[in-house]
């Protein structure tokens, strides 16, 4: 009996792809076409001129909001540099101080709340390559720099958000529930790896703390709907809320798979990329000969944000085939086919179907053949 199942390419090692880096219109592109770049190379720079930082002075000094101006050590309108004294209150046994967290101009004090607003000073921001590769295309209009490079690609089931790059930080294990309070403060420009389940509140906290991406095994359907802002899961690709999201398996609490998690561990602290709308994670190759290999490869130039059609595959099931369960009670688990029934079985649900015996986590279980996917 030949049985077939949908097949998914989950991990693609050493795949040639484009990483797109953007230099804003006001900035300067510092590389040329066909130039080889290393991950630490600065490929552009721009001046960041917009932004405010608020400081809750009444709380930090222990004073009434109306009294904050009395303790200010730098006049409104003056420049202050990071680490310099902004406000100070001397008490009998100690002195409470607020140091400026950044280079800024003291902009104002809110008379009602006592909050001090600092206007950030313009500063030069470098754009790093983040990968070893070759500059393949420079779009002068958008400032997009296409770097051809080698990556290990991990594909997920659900996603949202445009391509983002950031340092990978792991805050959960494969099976943990990633609650809002687990999101650290110091995650600016980071990609967070959660556990089996992330919540809407977790994603919003990560976004407000400056993370650019978040990865997990599962998400609740209502949270996903509220994030994609569309009524159809099939139409949900192509949007962006400022953070890229990738869900490996589906809806509910679904542990991250062993091989994906191992790859994430190997890349913790490294600069990685993710593209929620195309449901993929890109782990740049650190191999020194990767540039030699990408030199020989030609890639089409796709517009940034382009949604590439998912490759659909179907394969025949046979003993030894690597599979993933896509339905409870083993949803998300991976294993191998141990045997295939030669006649249909009537399930408790009343459905008559062929069962396959799969080996998952040291145990053998029988599941309908349509409730598994082949892992390529």
């Amino acid at each position: 009996m030949d049985l077939s199942a949908n097949a998914r390419i989950k991990i693609i090692p050493q795949k040639a792809t484009h990483i797109i880096k953007q230099v804003p219109a006001s900035g300067e592109v510092m590389v040329k076409l066909n130039q080889e770049v290393k991950s630490s190379d600065v490929i552009g720079r721009f001046r960041q001129t917009i932004g405010f930082r608020s400081i809750n002075a009444p709380q930090e000094l222990g004073v009434y909001p109306k009294d904050v101006p009395k303790y200010l050590m730098r006049e409104i309108g003056k420049t202050i540099y990071r680490g310099e004294l902004l406000a100070q209150k001397k008490e009998l046994l100690r002195t409470r101080e607020i140091q400026s967290p950044t280079d800024a101009v003291v902009n104002s004090i809110d008379p009602t709340t006592g909050i001090i607003m600092l206007k950030l000073l313009p500063k030069e921001v470098p754009v790093l390559s983040g990968v070893n590769g070759i500059v393949d295309f420079i779009d002068a209009q958008t400032g997009n720099i296409y770097i051809k490079t080698l990556v290990t690609q991990i594909n997920g089931s659900l996603g949202s958000g445009k391509q983002q790059g950031g340092q990978l930080k792991i805050i959960g294990n494969q099976r943990s529930f990633t609650m809002e309070n687990l999101i650290p403060d110091n995650i600016h420009q980071s990609i967070i790896l959660g556990g089996a389940l992330i919540y809407n509140e977790t994603i919003r906290k990560a976004l407000s703390n400056g993370a650019v991406g978040i990865i997990a095994g599962g998400i609740n359907a209502r949270d996903y709907k509220s994030l994609i802002g569309l009524s159809s899961f099939h139409l949900g690709y192509g949007n962006d809320i400022g953070i890229s999201i990738l869900i490996e398996h589906g809806f509910g609490a679904l542990p991250l798979s062993e091989d994906s998690y191992r790859l994430f561990w190997e890349n913790e602290g490294k600069f990685i990329y993710m593209d929620g709308n195309n449901r993929r994670i890109l782990l740049p190759s650190s191999e020194t000969d990767s540039i030699l290999r990408v030199r020989k490869i030609m890639l089409p130039i796709l517009q940034q944000g382009a949604i590439e059609p998912m490759e659909n595959h179907v394969g025949l099931l046979s003993v030894g085939t690597k599979i993933r369960s896509i339905w409870p009670p083993f949803m998300g688990s991976e294993g191998k086919i141990a045997s295939i029934d030669q006649s249909p079985t009537m399930l408790e649900s009343g459905v008559a179907t062929y069962l396959v015996t799969i080996e998952i986590a040291g145990q053998k279980v029988k599941v309908p053949y349509s409730n598994i996917e082949i892992v390529l």
Binding site: W327, S370, N371
Partner: protein
């Protein structure tokens, strides 16, 4: 080979059914998030099948609620036909259950053929007769291909007659010939507008 898919990929907007509405069809109380996640996974993995009786009941609730909310997807009053995807017949078994479900949710009237198919190819495989019998008696007689059955008025009855052409006579009404098939014939004797 084409990819494996299923009914839940063929019903547009199915992911928008609310857990509160699904709960109305279920005896067991569920956390709304459980029902939402169940439905979501059915949509992204439409090829999967129910393992347990409990899952079967949830699938059934999803389908019933979808038909109730989207009757126009199945029944076109202008063409006076019910069109259902082949997969719907596979999900709701036996056929009598499917026909009674369609009859009670689609609010059809008169003699309506039921077609099963995929994309552009549909075949007449059943018939729903939603009629208001002349008789107001509690019990009335239905003749299907000459076979007598006494039934209670104001209810829905299904007859598993797989003939292509079926002779039907409801009580004192004149005998008519209808086209049927493997889905059989369902007769709705409820008076229109009354929920019996």
């Amino acid at each position: 080979m084409t990819i494996l898919t299923g009914l839940f990929a063929q019903l547009p907007g199915i992911e928008n059914l609310s857990p509160e509405d699904l709960s109305k069809w279920l005896k067991k109380a569920y956390d709304p998030r459980v029902l939402e996640n169940y439905l979501g996974n059915r949509v992204i993995y439409p090829q999967t099948v129910a393992l347990t009786q409990e899952e079967r009941m949830i699938d059934r609730a999803i389908i019933q609620e979808y038909i109730r909310k989207n009757p126009a997807f199945f029944y076109n009053p202008l063409s006076h036909k019910v069109l259902i995807p082949l997969e719907l017949m596979h999900r709701i078994q036996p056929n009598a259950d499917l026909m009674v479900m369609l009859c009670s949710l689609l609010q059809v009237s008169g003699v309506v053929p039921v077609f099963i198919g995929e994309e552009t190819s549909f075949k007449n495989e059943g018939v729903i007769m939603a009629i208001n019998p002349l008789s107001t008696e509690k019990n009335i007689t239905i003749l299907i291909n000459g076979k007598n059955t006494i039934v209670e008025n104001n209810k829905i009855y299904h007859f598993s007659v797989e003939d292509q052409h079926i002779k039907v006579k409801v009580d004192g009404d004149p005998e008519i010939m209808v086209q049927g098939g493997k889905l059989g014939i369902t007769i709705d004797l409820r008076k229109r507008g009354e929920n019996v």
